[in-house]
Symmetry: C2
């Protein structure tokens, strides 16, 4: 695929065989204004206006480049697609009044205004990119802070609505693909060990559980008493070990002819199916990823696989194909099959 202006999720990054994406989130609040839970409509608008102004007049070029989106101007289907593209939370789009989103063109930066906190900055990047993502977050944070003067307490750090975010207000997460470790049946044990190290490993249905497509989210849980740099270093070190384990388990796994069979069949089905549910697609793409990593399907690029995971989400498909409402499920599964077959052809 050739993209002139690719989104972050259409790219493939460092350690991309295991780490699909990196996310850094900073929670910030304006001083002397109640937290969103207790704000008046007027205060909500006041915060929105202040952030809008701070971005437009921000010192950093990165802040100025952001597009300002009033959530009241966004259709329901567009809003759901924003969630699918990891730009906004389900909670954020459930209410539109007094809420705004700031967006970078490649969708790697988004700022939710008046979600759980007044300001939630998020940097998403392809592959393992913790340092770089944090650096961008920092520049943006400094730029906004110069006019908004975020609420900060010398002992508690940045003040946040939920006490679990006090301190750095930072959550660093990595989306990991761990099919071999999942197949070994040791994910619960691994999640337990990581939890003792202050990290949470979440499957599709919560901590340590089985996950659709073997995708897991690993993130730091501690934001107090530890600097951002320390938290990131800690996460990096541990993820390097996890990657190593996963790669070794994969090498073992693909020696089996049944596994090779599953990989080649998965690619063939993705290229030929006429109906494809999200769950099945995620399962098949998971096998294909292993095939790419182990050299069995070297003709398929990772970035195509990455892009498909986002581009075939229901609302995102609706938007791309000019539907104003959700596409009915059967039609959606047919469209998904077409998109996947075309991308992999």
């Amino acid at each position: 695929m050739i993209h002139t202006n690719r989104k972050w999720y259409e790219k493939h990054g460092p350690q991309g065989d295991v780490v699909i994406s990196t996310r850094i989130r900073l929670a910030r609040n304006l001083p002397k204004i109640p937290f969103p839970e207790r704000m008046s409509q007027k205060q909500r608008e006041q915060v929105e206006a202040a952030v809008h102004k701070a971005v437009e007049h921000g010192s950093a070029a990165i802040a100025q480049s952001l597009r300002y989106v009033n959530m009241q101007d966004v259709s329901r289907i567009e809003a759901i697609s924003m969630v699918e593209r990891h730009l906004a939370s389900p909670d954020f789009i459930s209410q539109t009044s007094g809420r705004a989103l700031l967006l970078a063109a490649d969708e790697s930066i988004s700022v939710m205004v008046n979600e759980e906190d007044h300001v939630r900055m998020q940097i998403m990047m392809e592959g393992m990119n913790l340092e770089k993502a944090y650096q961008i977050a920092s520049v943006l944070d400094d730029s906004l802070n110069s006019s908004l003067h975020f609420a900060f307490h010398k002992d508690l750090g940045y003040l946040t609505q939920c006490p679990t975010n006090l301190g750095t207000g930072m959550r660093a997460s990595l989306m990991l693909h761990l099919p071999a470790l999942q197949e070994s049946g040791i994910m619960n044990r691994i999640a337990g060990n990581l939890s003792k190290l202050g990290l949470a490993l979440r499957g599709t249905y919560g901590e340590g559980t089985h996950s659709v497509g073997a995708l897991y989210q690993l993130s730091n849980q501690v934001s107090l008493g530890l600097s951002e740099t320390e938290a990131i270093a800690n996460l990096s070190t541990i993820v390097m070990q996890l990657m190593d384990q996963e790669r070794k388990a994969r090498q073992q796994m693909v020696r089996e002819v049944d596994k090779q069979d599953q990989i080649f069949r998965s690619a063939a089905i993705l290229k030929s199916a006429r109906v494809l549910s999200t769950d099945e697609m995620m399962k098949l793409l998971s096998h294909v990823r292993v095939g790419i990593a182990c050299g069995l399907l070297s003709e398929i690029p990772y970035d195509t696989v990455n892009a498909l995971m986002i581009r075939t989400q229901p609302a995102t498909m609706s938007l791309a194909y000019g539907h104003e409402d959700a596409i009915p499920v059967q039609e959606r599964d047919t469209l998904r099959a077409k998109i996947v077959a075309k991308a992999l052809a």
Copy 2:
């Protein structure tokens, strides 16, 4: 595929979308010699010698062209492959002494000597070829009869060991592919109706049962009080109706996108699998046949599909790949996958 000397099962015949093959079998016995069940070893050898001589000095070119195979010279794996290729019955190969097989180069004619009857002639042809196959059987029958003078009674017709074969001694069978009727769940009803008309419809596990790959054998049950021509006309008329029903049901069936999905997936899996059991292959080939018939997979020739059903049988694969013994199952499924992928590439 280009074949200089193709076997009958590597071809595609008339009505080949539904009728895979035609089989005519004539049971004959020599006069004044007990039936095989009660023969002495000496009599067995006597019959064998007489048939051998009758073939060599037969009036018809067709008889002279047959290759004479003493079953004692045939390895176990070769004998099993003969069963897989429909040349001999499992019972026939269970004993080798005093048994011989006469074979045409394209394997469309085989004569078992000293199976259930002294002589069992069989003509196999691609597609619906009842008249032509019966014509060949007749020529061969006449040629052998001129020297062997088959036992014949004016009221009972040709004498056979089992009374159900008395009369014409003929069994005419068609191998039918009936996926759409099978999916409609009406096979038991159809088999019941056919039975009243003197025809037996057998699935993989007996009459009217579900069948692997939706393959059914339809044959006349009555050989007494009805001429060969009448029996064949009767079978033809009924199979034309059955074909019509099946084709209409297929047209209906392939309108569903889920069915189209199944067809395209099946072709893709057959081309890409690295491990393939017989059962799965038969199931997938069945879907592919429907795809060919309905124009969805027009690039795949029927003769390739027909040939695969025989060429991937265990003993036939062993023979083709120079193994003297049965190949272990796992290895066999891997080899089958290779053969299928290559044939469909």
